[in-house]
């Protein structure tokens, strides 16, 4: 425990009681995966956002803990009648951690860099409808679109769309410089990243003076560290079986929420026999979702029947369409001319949902005559053989990007689903701004992929948050990967 630093005069003016002088003012937060680097505009790894999003870097808009999109560096905006021009007014007095001012030029630079031909941005498609960005005044940015895009403000809230400065862009990966409430201090590779409060932050100065984000992927080590109180909180605990012990322990609070992770039995639609819709339908009926949720996740997770998050208002519950019915699965296989079953592979990456879920899936498939050979792989190997190489039959993976049903429009995406009907719906969706019509189209898209049984839809991955009793402001859900240190505080 440390005394608050003298500069908190400003903070006490915000209403902090004098009695808080001895309160704990730091946090040690743990997460499973260490990021490969710290530049959210140059990598797909969610682990990057977990560390830097809303802490070091900020975008024009941001996600709130419940998934809504609200203004951040953009104070306000005007959308033209035809939906083609967005005029953003920026916050006043925003500076980067290196002391330079954040202006419309930086916004133009960041967006142009992200959408450039040679951009290394992992989510380039977020910016695909932007045709021009102009810094008309120091605090005003005009974004012109090539076609109306109803999800532009949502897209700009992503970690991949944060605002960076031209001067520091070369070193973002190791020494990130942003506009956020916390500054990068140190990265001890293999162990932790340390952040310190930014005293010049343009917004409300957060309560905690510093934060350590530790990387613990081994479930046993995570359990030990939490029990020994070496860490104050765990972002998403890797071992669901231990949650009951944390729940019973008054030192901890267990905060169960939902992630954006649709956990699916991903199926290689281009490979025989999975190119036959009947076989995919048989797969869907051979799987008992509830057994998988109970056996692999100890009950944490919500069944899904399509590739969409159940907490989203546009979700349609299609689980009944692919209910557990081994008889039907066998009949469908027979119709497909595979009454003797067939052999395939099941690639399983390291998380418990995949390794344990995969053992259960393999056992269930065996009941209808499908022999799935389990191949346990590390993430690097999974990316190489499954995601890039597309040499797999089945795999289990959680797709954690928010609103990622758009991956079904890409025939070259690793599960290789190609349906012009769906692509048409999604194209119309992108051009629509009316919320009711958008909901309707999203539901149509969900139904199309469920009808095609593209993949086996298992469950929405739960977020198993644990924090010491007294830590306030922890995000229950994960609308995006983030640990918002600025929202945290310790109760008396």
């Amino acid at each position: 425990m440390k005394l608050k630093k003298p500069f908190v005069a400003a903070v006490s003016a915000l209403g902090l009681m004098a009695g808080a002088a001895w309160a704990k003012d730091t946090v040690t937060y743990a997460t499973q995966l260490e990021p490969p680097h710290l530049d959210p505009t140059g990598g797909a790894a969610q682990a990057i956002d977990t560390v830097v999003y809303l802490n070091i870097f900020e975008g024009l808009t941001r996600f709130t803990p419940d998934g809504a999109v609200v203004p951040l560096l953009a104070k306000s905006w005007d959308i033209s009648e035809d939906g083609m021009t967005y005029t953003f007014t920026l916050q006043d007095g925003v500076t980067f951690h290196d002391g330079t001012a954040m202006t419309a030029e930086d916004v133009k630079f960041s967006l142009d860099r992200a959408r450039a031909e040679d951009s290394t941005n992992a989510q380039k498609s977020l910016f695909s409808t932007i045709s021009d960005v102009k810094a008309t005044e120091p605090q005003t940015v005009v974004v012109t679109l090539s076609e109306p895009n109803g999800s532009l403000l949502f897209n700009l809230a992503w970690g991949d769309a944060v605002i960076v400065a031209q001067e520091s862009v070369e070193t973002l990966k190791t020494a990130p410089v942003g506009t956020g409430p916390y500054r990068f201090n140190e990265w001890v590779q293999g162990d932790r990243v340390e952040l310190v409060r930014n005293p010049n932050y343009w917004g409300e100065i957060p309560e905690l003076t510093s934060a350590t984000i530790k990387f613990i992927s081994d479930p046993t080590a995570a359990f030990a560290a939490m029990m020994a109180e070496d860490i104050d909180a765990f972002d998403n605990f890797p071992a669901p079986e231990n949650m009951v012990q944390f729940e019973a322990d008054p030192r901890f609070q267990v905060i169960i929420g939902s992630t954006e992770g649709e956990t699916i039995l991903s199926t290689n639609n281009a490979q025989a026999p999975f190119d036959n819709p009947k076989v995919r339908e048989a797969l869907a009926h051979a799987i008992d979702r509830n057994a998988i949720i109970d056996g692999a996740m100890f009950g944490y997770g919500t069944p899904i029947g399509t590739h969409f998050a159940p907490h989203n208002p546009a979700y349609v519950d299609l689980t009944a369409q692919s209910d557990f019915d081994p008889e039907k699965a066998r009949a469908l296989l027979a119709e497909a001319g595979l009454s003797d079953g067939f052999e395939t592979t099941l690639h399983l990456p390291p998380p418990a949902y995949a390794r344990r879920g995969g053992e259960i899936v393999a056992a269930q498939l065996a009941q209808v005559g499908i022999k799935a050979e389990i191949i346990n792989v590390e993430w690097a190997q999974w990316l190489e053989t499954v995601f890039k190489g597309k040499t797999f039959g089945l795999t289990i993976v959680s797709h954690t990007e928010p609103m990622d049903i758009g991956i079904y429009t890409r025939p070259d995406y690793y599960f290789q689903y190609d349906n012009p009907d769906l692509q048409g719906v999604m194209n119309r969706l992108n051009a629509t701004t009316d919320p009711d019509k958008r909901t309707e189209m999203l539901q149509e898209a969900q139904t199309i992929i469920a009808d095609d049984y593209v993949n086996g839809y298992l469950f929405q991955l739960a977020k198993l948050g644990i924090a010491k009793a007294g830590l306030q402001g922890v995000w229950a859900n994960a609308p995006t990967a983030a640990i918002e240190i600025g929202a945290l505080s310790w109760a008396e």
Binding site: G295, R356, I374
Partner: protein, 271 residues
């Protein structure tokens, strides 16, 4: 019969029986998951409880014994099959270039920490029981080569071998007909010990995920899977842990007992 031999034989025999019995009978199908019945402590239905998928642990231990014993046995087989002929050849041609090549090759393999190389082999060629057998087997070769050579060298100076040579038998034939039977007891003792090390190595490789792959049960993987569950259901770790300990201790005692029985010096001491 000495005590080590009795106890070792008993423990090893029980494990062997469990493994053989599993071919014809296990209390439950070891692969059938019954998730509502998960994490049961030992009870009348499931004598050793159930795991996190509701599988019967006794059945898994029985089938796991099969995996462990088969891997270790085949690995010892590789060691004996390749190592003994090499050792015999080295002894028969003592001091020649062949002897040098064989024994320096031996030293080379010995110089590597065996488990690390086993991990390398399974990591390169993919984790499977077969690759575990090969990896463990390779390290058995120099052990048996050395025992065979060491045991044979003194025999080559004995009269009955000289007699055989005078009678015109070839070195290869003498090795097979006269040397081998006389070093058999040495090899059996060494084989028992290597067998127990093989079981330990297989458990170790499976523990880190490089041995038999699921759904084939394996003691090492059962231990690994129990790791995060051990505070909830300790029997998940205790049962396969005990199975490994009892088997390894049993085989070591058996090896000791056999050595005491075969070793002429010890027998003289006792008399």
């Amino acid at each position: 019969m000495n005590r080590s031999l009795f106890l070792g034989g008993l423990l090893s025999g029980i494990m062997l029986l469990l493994a053989i019995a599993s071919f014809v009978w296990t209390p439950f199908d070891h692969a059938v998951m019954n998730i509502p019945d998960k994490l049961q402590t030992p009870n009348a239905t499931h004598w050793l409880g159930t795991d996190h998928f509701g599988r019967d642990i006794l059945s898994m231990v029985m089938v796991g014994a099969r995996t462990s014993l088969a891997v270790a046995l085949l690995a010892v087989g590789i060691g004996v099959g390749l190592g003994v002929p090499l050792g015999l050849a080295a002894a028969a041609t003592r001091g020649s270039w062949l002897d040098e090549v064989i024994m320096r090759g031996n030293d080379l393999v010995f110089a590597f920490p065996s488990l690390v190389i086993a991990i390398l082999i399974t990591a390169v060629f993919g984790p499977s029981a077969t690759n575990a057998i090969i990896a463990i087997g390779i390290f058995n070769i120099p052990v048996f080569a050395r025992v065979a050579r060491g045991g044979s060298l003194s025999l080559w100076a004995r009269e009955f071998i000289l007699t055989a040579r005078v009678a015109g038998k070839s070195r290869a034939r003498i090795s097979a007909e006269h040397i081998l039977p006389n070093i058999a007891n040495l090899l059996i003792v060494q084989g028992t010990i290597q067998f127990s090390l093989g079981i330990l190595a297989e458990a170790g490789l499976s523990y880190v995920g490089l041995g038999a792959q699921p759904p084939t049960p394996s003691w090492g993987r059962m231990l690994a899977e129990a790791q995060t569950l051990v505070s909830l259901a300790p029997h998940l770790a205790i049962v396969p842990g005990l199975a490994i300990i009892l088997t390894v201790v049993g085989l070591n005692l058996l090896g000791d007992g056999l050595r005491d029985r075969f070793d002429p010096r010890l027998m003289e001491g006792r008399a």
